[in-house]
Amino acid sequence: MKWNSKVAIICVGMCYAALSGMAIAGEMAADSAMLSGTSIYTHSNKAYMLALNESNIVIAQADSPSTTVMDSMSAKPSEFEPPAFSGSNIHKYMGLATVALVGLTAVTAPEEDEGATTPSTKSRTQGTHQSLGRAAAVMAAATVTSGLLAHWDDFHLEDGFTDPDNLHVMLGTLGALAMLNAVSKAPGNGHPGTGIAGGVAMAAAIKLTW
């Protein structure tokens, strides 16, 4: 029964993530629409007048070789597509996956008073928790490595500890170390606190530069 509850929690989490993804996709679609309009403003210094339907300006512009409606429409953003899989994007997805794995690890933690459950159910729960915990720690380490590779020139010591990028690096690294420590201590006492602290540090690191 308890196992079913946990599966239900995971399903709710996945549904929520899917819904959030749909919301983000909708937002991106709205952004794309905005881009096509605003890019015309920025790529042609008279284009906003066209948007205002000032016909005299349109006629005057038609004779000018420097700025035409076609020039505005062929603005660069429509030609250039940012890469879907850049180092920066991979780092971002890995960070989010780490936090998701930490959440799932916490949710699947075996209960202290599970005397009523059958041994097979208990070991299955522990196995899932253990696997997710290890996956979270490995993903955290991979996230830190990918961040160092993709953003090595984004953090500078001279900017101080409160710089958002420097804080991101520190919290992310500490979070990964805490998770690795929690996995190495498991199933001993204290490992849940260390693991959760690592996850919170990683989530805070993401938020600072999100």
């Binding site: 308890k2 509850s5 946990k6 239900a8 929690i9 709710v12 989490g13 929520y16 959030s20 983000i24 937002e27 952004d31 905005m34 881009l35 605003t38 890019s39 403003y41 920025t42 790529h43 210094n45 008279k46 906003y48 660069k76 953003p77 250039f80 940012p82 890469p83 850049s86 920066s88 994007n89 959440g103 916490a106 949710v107 209960e111 020139d153 500078h156 900017d159 101080g160 409160t162 710089d163 958002p164 990028d165 938020k207 600072l208 530069t209 999100w210």
Partner: protein, 187 residues
Amino acid sequence: MQVKMKFVTLLAGMLLLNGTPALAEETFAGWLFNFERTKEVNPVTDRQYRSECSDCHYAYPPGLLPEKSWRKLLNAEALRDHFGDNAELDKDTLEAVLDYAVENSADKSYHKRSRKIARDTEDGEQPLRITEVRYIKRAHQEIPENMIKGNKDVKSLSFCDKCHTQAAKGVFDADTVSIPNYPDWED
């Protein structure tokens, strides 16, 4: 019981985070409980600001300079000699443009790049040019001069939108950079 508590806590957290984007970004709580990305700078949303500025150049998002810089730039006297050009505005328009710039300046924004710019410009003389901000200078220092000044389609770092293809959305990250005539260049 503990599973139920976890479930309720998780659900409450999700609902809390899901509902809070409605909060204004310009408050700490608004920033904290907001899923929308705030890594870049707030894009220009004011029609009057955009139309007045983009009459001559790219309408720079106000989050690229601190309030003091905008106050130095956007006053009647300064606009009479706006980097060599007369960019005078009537009193009402100037007031509206300045208000928008000040309200969305780097030191009033929680967007990451704006925060970095605000930190960079806390002390000392306030920059009049975005390209004078240390953070901006450092981000561009590796680009060879021939790709900017020697590039007929760019000419100056001041023309952000020549290379930052999503500058109109306030996005300036490396993935969206495409330097005209140098399509294979990577940061």
